[in-house]
Amino acid sequence: MSEIEKERIREKESVVVEGITLTGQWNRMFEQRVVWDYDPTNLEKVVNLAGGESLGWCYQCGKCTGVCPVDHVGSYSPRKIFSKVRSGLDLFTDPDLWLCTTCGNCLRVCPKGVDMLQIMPAVREQVVASGAAPPELQQAFENTFRYGNPLGEPARKRADWTKEAGVPVPVVSQLKRPVDVVFYVECYWSYHLRGKQAAQAMARTLHRLGIDFAILGMEEKCVCDTQRAAGEKGLFELFTEQNIATLGKYQFTTLMTPDPHAFNAFKNEYPKYGATLPVVHYTQLLAPLVATLPFVRELPYRVTFHDPCYLGRQNGEYESPRQLLKAIPGLQVIEMLRCRENGYCCGGGGGGMWLGSFAAGHESERLSERRVKEAVSTGADVLAVCCPFEVSLFEDAVKTTGNSGKLIVRDIVELLDEACTPKTEVSIA
């Protein structure tokens, strides 16, 4: 009987076991499988990092691939990342490292708990520390470090939006008394043109509800949760210490922010640094009070709502934004196919907000463009949002997808404000 020597296994052409003749093929199960041939170096580099461990747990089921927003515009998804890393891709130098928006939809469906919200920041932190992050991202980090906001706007102008609010917006340091609500405006509502309009609508809404509120004014600094997810943990820690010290100077019962990323940090990260804050997203503050808003007109809009990843999936809040929308007279809410737990991502999270040019070279279209097309397909004429990143991303995407005139983008608080304003004073177009 002939034998084949292969690797360490001696394979017989056939063998008789208990009277049954078996071919030599059965031996092959003892051969070295191809998977053993992979060089584990690059995978080990990731899984050996604190936070990177779970990449090694992937068993390639592929559930994430169907829900990963980046995979819809490229070849991505955690399964593919694992597969690429195992077969030689160095995540530390590959552009793939920067495309994940930490939207968390993969983690929702993953049976093994492969957690990109931990893996990506852990690897990025190493790369940021080596100075090899994409320059546009470094610019956002430097701006934040220097000016307290990633837009590179002067700290002195942080409260300039209040001048056009039409109502007084007190600064907590000048009140010299406890206040019910500290309104943590965050950067895009403080500086971005469309964000400022939402901040002003918020101030008017708080006034209509008779809420005792104040802002931090020039003392407010970026919460940096997105910089953290993008790998600048040092920046996050620096500002966390400063923000905790600032907030610690004042007495308030509620900390309210419009930014789901800031909300996420206050709720889930700040306790690690010793601060337990009574934080709510603005939709959570307003939802129980919306019946008392003095609506004066109907808004005849068909509205579809985009769930922010860091409000919905990361923090489980899906109802408050919808309660607000449904309370507006005349307004009809249409859901997109991908909503709530399966909501698509605007592309701004995890540093995506500052990686537009970089990502454009690696994706077939922007995530915001995908989402805008989906919103248009519902027949909605308004895309409602409640995250400060989204207005600018989606308004750009409306233009670049040729949907100007078909869809407008509004923050929920702008819609509330509009419904409380007589028609002569405001126009949606």
Partner: protein, 260 residues
Amino acid sequence: MNLLVPLKMVPDLVEELTLNEAGTGLDRDALTYKLNEFDDQALEEALELKALHGGTVIVAGLDTPDIDQVFYTAIAKGADRAVKITGQFDPLVDSWTAAAAMAPVVASLEVDLVLAGVQAPDDLYGQLPVLLAGRLGWPHVSVVSGIELDPQARIARCHQEYSGGVMAAMETALPAVLGVQAARKTPRYAPISRIRQVMKEAKLEEVAAAPAADGGRPKVRRLFKPESQGHARMLEGDVTSQIEQLVGLLAERGLLKVRV
């Protein structure tokens, strides 16, 4: 090789510039300061040269607002020492005073090469490297890029770009002062965690500035925003009429030699 990079703070233009009441300078209360960007180029070039040849990079600057943060950032990027020259300095110190304060410090530090930013927003003529070299009695080349060092021969080679696509390759004996126009690569990023670590651990050295005689440098009598001298005038009418008006205007202003 010891490389020294002078660092200078300049107004951050993210804030609007306003004039002081006397109209002789900027309103200092409305200013924030940042590192002169050419100095950042010089620092990057110094760090690259250090990576090639070893040695140390020393940053030095006058005690002006916010300069400590710039020192810490420079150390986080890889500078070995930071020397703060203390004294009573105007935050917008002029190059003559800066060179006078800096020269004795440079002379005391066994420096082989000074890499200075070629110019600053308030020193467009790039006087600092020239004045510093003059006070030290060292050779000086300014507006340079493409720096190469030969530590054995104690020579620095560099390029100076002229108009018309002409490039000069120059060399100078060390020690010398170079006015750096551009580093070989974009200035590096300093991770914030490293800056924070540096702020906790690094010590800034301090040297008191030696008193220097005032050289009678110029005083600013008036600082003002550019005043519009005239406005564009649009010519109306058809093309022939526009041409006639244009020729007439040129003749009227004495810009035509041929009488129309």
